[in-house]
Amino acid sequence: MSVSLRIVPYDIMKNLASRCLPQRILVRTAGLVFFCLMMLCSCVPSAVITAKDKAALASGEKALVLLRIQCSVDNQPCEPFIKPSFTVEPIFVFGLGTFETVGEPKYAIHGFLSQEARQAGWIYFLLPPGIYYLAVLGPDSAVISKTDSTNDFRDAPRWRLDVLENTKLIYVGTLHFTGKTEGKLLFGGKVIYPVNTDEIPLQDEREPASHLLAEHFPNAGEVKTILLQRWRPGDSIIIRTPKRSKNE
């Protein structure tokens, strides 16, 4: 059985290539769009205070819970919340256990009060009164792949967090995490993993916390300090029935 080969003359090919120029531009544009989408996909969502949130805060329906994360990697201070990009991924994510999850932490979105606050490691959650269990994953270069993992949050260091009624601004403490590097990622970033997760120091920085909150919420009143309480496997999980909001 013979195989026939069709040879295309050079001038026909040249003609075809010149006609395909707009298609090449299309391909480049599509590539750029794809790159931008990948950049967006590498981001971890962070909350922004909306008008609705401000109203909930003013009415006492929710409280702003402020927490500071500090971190050192290979004994060097490390910025915990570098703005993620295609090549820079977040190294911390958080889980919150609620009444609905019976204390089992599930991925929770945190917010930043400002860019400066973000660089200094201050984060916040807007929460209705109740008892919560905060789980922290990090510093970990692979943390972004663990947001859906129940097991990772279950094994993460956990703290109990009490949000009292009639309290608008709460500072819960400053946590110091340590990490180690081992090897490099595909785009040059370092592989980071957490160490010493059993002993995570909790520091009371109520003065700077009060200043930061007074700057952003001058009329919200006094800042209450209710420090996190470490929860360890074997401890009872305490839950409290949440009060239904007026909108529900």
Partner: protein, 159 residues
Amino acid sequence: MTTCGPNLRVLLLGISLVLAGCVLLPIPLPENKVLAGKPVTEEQLSFLSSKDTTMQQVMDHLGNPNVIWEDTRIFVYNWEMRRGILFWAVGGYGSATAGLSEIPKHYLLLIQFNAQDRIVRFERTVRPMTQSFSDFLQAWGENVPLAPATPQNHPEDEK
């Protein structure tokens, strides 16, 4: 129009899954493996039948509860036993993958106390796989027994 029986339906479902390149085969096993928590046996519950049993006595006998529902004064002890194994296989287009997963049975011992920290009621029960933990707890917390209470489960009614 003819109707088909449950066995035929299961058979048809099985055939359709096999034809779709997917096999799910649950294999029931005796409950002799603990997957999580510390089991509480029926024998361990004998001390609960007295209406004078206090919260402290419960903790002395059974240890710290896994969950304390503060405002309803409910203690929850939970544990998981293996009820079987699920064999699964997915195939198609020249490749296939298969595996085994353990099927858990969610046991709960729920104990409610009164304001004097004495037992009001208790129940050793199984949470359905389709119901979330919090939904089950809320249903139990709101449950007002319609049927006459059994002395074992409602020690205050022994009077």
